[in-house]
Amino acid sequence: MDTLKRRLLDLIIYFGLWLLLTWSLDWQGVVVGAVLAVLFAIALSGLLPEKAERLFSPVRWFWAIIHLFSLLFWIIVANFDVLYRVLHPNLPIRPGIVKIKTTLKSDEAKAFLANSITLTPGTLTIDIIDDWLYVHWINVHENLEDAEAITRDIAGRFEVTLRRVFD
């Protein structure tokens, strides 16, 4: 998708966001919002990535919704995990920073994978370098050398859906 189209989409998103935030169709507000949306679309370096036409693919949206629900489920699990660790008198933690290799290709997919990992039980993404994600894990496996098992445990549950959304 070429730059002009992407900028137009940016503009529509900014304007839509303004309308939602103000929640009124008073003409003065709408005019101010339109002017600001144009200014932002020109001034800011694009909101959308290179392949923005993927926004119009219903299959990708379907998988995005699946991903959102699985993410919400794991966030709730993560919260009970923290609840258990924090309230337990002995503080059962065994922290460490492990690295995992992701098979996802696009930058957006990696960013969403990193954020999803941060919100799920016991893990916090610290950095991404190329295909490697460095993850702080509050309760590291006994078997540290088994990189595949670590990757599967941390990233496996999200890579499946994210690949279908972004790659």
Binding site: V82, R85, L87, R94, P95, G122, D127, H136
Partner: protein
């Protein structure tokens, strides 16, 4: 919107507040920056998210409800990004991990 608060918003908001409290407790009890960020990110994200969803359920689809919904989406989106930036910044600045930490592959690989 009436002044009577229904059951669903009360449940949502109080669950959210409880998780916020657990996050705050974790911030005090856990040993180092990284573990504390874990508790702070997960619990505070879900806690705040639930409070905002409770506001949405209470006020319905009007100006306040929509703002709460947008805020909930932004919290879900930005809070993991923020905690990543804090953890990475702390590691680069040389904040040490807790002595019970078993492994630090990040230091092994980047030398920082």
């Amino acid at each position: 919107m009436n002044s009577q608060v229904g059951l669903a918003p009360i449940i949502l908001i109080s669950t959210g507040v409880i998780f916020d409290l657990v996050g705050a407790l974790g911030l005090i009890r856990l040993p180092d920056v990284y573990n504390r960020l874990q508790a702070a990110t997960k619990c505070v994200t879900l806690g705040t998210f639930l409070v905002l969803v409770g506001v949405l359920v209470h006020s319905g689809w009007n100006a306040m409800g929509i703002k709460a919904l947008l805020a909930a989406i932004f919290v879900l989106w930005t809070s993991p990004t923020g905690s990543h930036a804090l953890a990475r910044g702390a590691h680069i600045a040389g904040v040490r991990l807790w002595e019970g930490t078993v492994v630090d592959r990040y230091k092994e690989d980047t030398g920082r």
